[in-house]
Amino acid sequence: MSGTELGLALSVFLACTVEAVEALTIVLAVGTTRSWSSALYGSAAAVVALAAVVLALGPALSSLPIDTLRVVVGGLLLVFGLQWLRKAALRAAGLKALHDEQALFAAETEAARSARSGAVAGIDAYAFVVAFKGVLLEGLEVAVIVLTFGANQHEVPLAAAAAGIAIAIVVLAGVAARAPLARVPENTMKFAVGVMLTSFGTFWGAEGVGAAWPGGDAALLAIIPGVLLAALAMVAWLRRTAGEPSAARTARQPA
């Protein structure tokens, strides 16, 4: 496995693990409170919908000329990566609340308890819809990451396998724990995914519009640590400015 393939598999695995943990919390909440069978039907329907998205968009993406594909993929990965990195940096600096699976589970459980009951053909409509939406929305971004990474490297099976392994691990851990996976270091993983998406997006985007990287693929060995160091420096800067007394910050501002 080449370094690029390893980066691809690792990025998809981490992104998929984070999103699967969040989807699992929602499914667990409606499953334990309302109906397990309805929550599982909703989850299965969402997985089918996600597979349909991948099957519909995959061949379309793969048929694009390589330079066009790299611009599209690079641009999408950059936009997604910078968003992941921004949120993870704000959370790491303490300026945004960490994603709390226990709190999300409690809120979803309370909402599920207070919702009206309504069964259609023996299926609890609330549990079905909430599980469907949760899995679909959390999975959509991962589906796009799998498609873009996979199509660009002609490695959709590798990307899909990395996603499948991540989902299997999270589901097995959830079944074993029978509780939200609150101890997964979600923000650290999101930070890592943000760095990888931003780095690959920078590399492929520039290549797609005609730039040639010194050293070819080996340039990624400089881009990835560079993005990581820049992001860590920004977290340190955010922590410092957030810790400053407001009077000191006000005094520095121009009149």
Binding site: V71, G74, G75, L76, L78, V79, L82, Q83, L85, R86, A89, L90, L95, L140, E141, T198, T202, G205, A206, G208, V209, G210, A211, A212, W213, P214, A219, I223, G226, V227, A230, A231, M234, L238, T241, A242
Partner: protein
């Protein structure tokens, strides 16, 4: 027609999210890289500082 608008809004929200400046910045940075590469000069150096600048700008906007 309304479903088309909703779909468009959904796609915009999904891709661009709550920070359109970053999305626009990525397009501009790729455009500048394309123009420089089109002249035959080395253009790889545009994206790394542009990406660092866009992240810093996005964080600055989020905290101010």
């Amino acid at each position: 027609m309304s479903w088309l608008i909703r779909l468009g809004r959904g796609v915009w929200e999904f891709i661009v999210g709550d920070d359109w400046v970053t999305g626009a910045g990525v397009v501009v940075a790729l455009g500048v890289t394309a123009v420089i590469a089109g002249t035959g000069a080395a253009a790889w150096w545009v994206m790394p500082p542009a990406v660092v600048f866009l992240l810093a700008l996005s964080l600055h906007r989020a905290t101010n």
